[in-house]
Amino acid sequence: MMELKEIQRLEGHTDKVWSLAWNPTTGHAGIPLVFASCSGDKTVRIWEQNLSSGLWACTAVLDETHTRTVRSCAWSPSGKLLATASFDATTAIWENVGGDFECVSTLEGHENEVKCVSWNAAGTLLATCSRDKSVWIWEVLPGNEFECVSVLQGHSQDVKMVKWHPTEDILFSCSYDNSVKVWADEGDSDDWQCVQTLGEPNNGHTSTVWALSFNVSGDKMVTCSDDLTLKVWETESVGTQSGGGFAPWTHLCTLSGYHDRTIFSVHWSREGIFASGAADNAIRLFVDDNESQVGGPLYKLLLKKEKAHDMDINSVQWSPGEKPVLASASDDGTIKVWELTSY
């Protein structure tokens, strides 16, 4: 049997914790695991693991830059930069300078709340999305400069999340308009285009899509929604296309009946387990159902952690490193770190 065991409960934020992000360059070769968390208290906190005790402590508080809720944070692939998206309509870029974080750039242009920020795999592009229904793509230039590459309009409502594909420069966005849109820079045109929309007509969600995540190879994606379902999508031949066009995504299966309230977050680990965080305060883990009969469900519930938090869970994220741990962020103002163990 598997169990999700609480390693630590982290306090410090004075308002709900919206999101957290693991520094992808930590957790290997003796480097302690580091993650950032962001909150309604307008701050971002940096948490670093003590290798002796295995526990996390807050090593920095990034404040007095954002004037409203910080809704999302994301590390660049190099781990040197941290991007934070705020309800103050800006995205701040922080650079780690000898343990201190300095705001080196502020990206403006969204008309109102920025909901999410995401780096592509190479760290050359940054995407942001907003309640103004737009998705912006920025190019990362030398000297911590950023340049607006494209302003994408296609969603008809608030865009909740943007996420780059793990290996391709393809961007995914999900929205209050119940759809997931796929964006690519098709060679012919001079700009980014929506190349696919995963909406209700093709087995998409029937309510707000809050988050999405890819498996390690990038050929499967899981999305979560207000409609109380998780949906898994797949595509063919990721990375093996030789100059061919975009490979479309198709619906694989829907996981329904497991959640009682809105699912706010979903994240797929390198080991193939995906975690969901929901408004019912629970964390659920799902895994391939290898014993599935023909036509049976492809994924099964591995476990459910009731009362993981006292309030809504806004974000769940698997860590990098040889032995991943799971971190969760909640409306109760705390972050918890979990270990998946067997007994």
Partner: protein, 474 residues
Amino acid sequence: MSEKFSAALRIGDLNDYIAPSQACIVSLKGLKKNDKPEVSIANKQVNFEPVKISLKDCLACSGCVTSAETVMLEKQSLDEFLNNINSGKAVIVSLSPQSRASIAVHFGISPIQAFKKLTRFFKSLGVKAVFDTSCSRDLTLVESCVEFITRYRQNQLVDDERSKSSLPMIASACPGWICYAEKQLGSFVLPYISSVKSPQQTVGAIIKNYVCQELGLRPEEVYHVTVMPCYDKKLEAARDDFVFQFESHVEGLESEINMISEVDSVLTTGEVLELIQSKEVDFKSLEETPLDKILTNINEEGYLYGVHGSSGGYAETIFRYAAKTLFGRQIDDPLTFRNIRNSDFQEVTLEVEGKTVLKFALCYGFRNLQNIVRKLKNGKCDYHFLEIMACPSGCLNGGGQIKPNSGQSPKELSQLLESVYMENVLVASPFDNPIIKGLYDKWLEQPGSVKARRYMHTQYHPVEKSITSQLHNW
């Protein structure tokens, strides 16, 4: 919300979400608010007209307009246009060269053929005259050239940082850009924007202030419609800055104050096509009628003339004028614009003795606009002039233009429009335009004069966001 408006407007302006407790702050034009309650004890029953908040008032506000209102805006003009013809007003149409090119491409004819057929079409509906905004654009260009020289010289003279902020001068012809600048950018960017009116408003000012007088018409008897490539021009026409007070004297009656709009309504190219189709007119077979020459760039030999640059030619025209006036460099060859990041962001420079003395850019589309704005804010913008247009590819690609045929890509249509735009059109400096010269001689006196500033220049106003619209948090 409507997809027809430019990106700058869609992002910066129209929003389906109405914030709680959003108080209406729209001022009632021409009607001053009376805070004191009035109690009438008169025996007579008095019928008061209800005060109406019009769509244009809402669109100018930063508040609660939703996309439903934009549908109203899109639909109102065509019906209003036809109603005014039937009401006996003298209807005048001013046609933009971009719309002319779009219609020419659609029907596979030349711009001048399109112009003459459109003139026949409009007159068959009862329109009195059809003019050309290429003509008023030349006036806009002349005033812009003079304004740029003034700013440049001031910039060179004064060393303190505040006065240097008059450069770069930014073109003012794009209403999507103006609306965005006022609402989203505010005070920091407005001083950079040229104060010269756009060709649409310039032709309106000429017609309502000067042509009416020449023709013995009262401005309120004239209904002026423009045909434009984008929907945002409807917003421009509705600005308070472009409404003026005219006092008319009717014999035997007391003088009454009338509020006169320079442009009473705007039709997009697509709406005109819709009108042609609804009248079941065989447009290609339509007879070509002679053009009204009062405000039309057509020479004695029957050729259209104008400047290079399908979005108005501001950067190119001002560049040539500045090179000649400031540095004695007569440039007759085509200017070499260099792509900076994409084809919608190009620049041209003039070097004198190894030093760059003029640096101008074409900056089209919302993404490029954002990058320019970032540089302006960071103090890293070293351009002297910016021709900013909100639409990718510029005005020929405005949201109101006729859409590509099936099988035709937007890019192909864009390229075709570019080639047709200057087909059989002679290139001529706006300073050589005899109509413009005549307007200065008889009315405006000289470029940059007090009178020219009064009729041909305007102002911009930062829009303050209400506090309630910024309170939500989710």
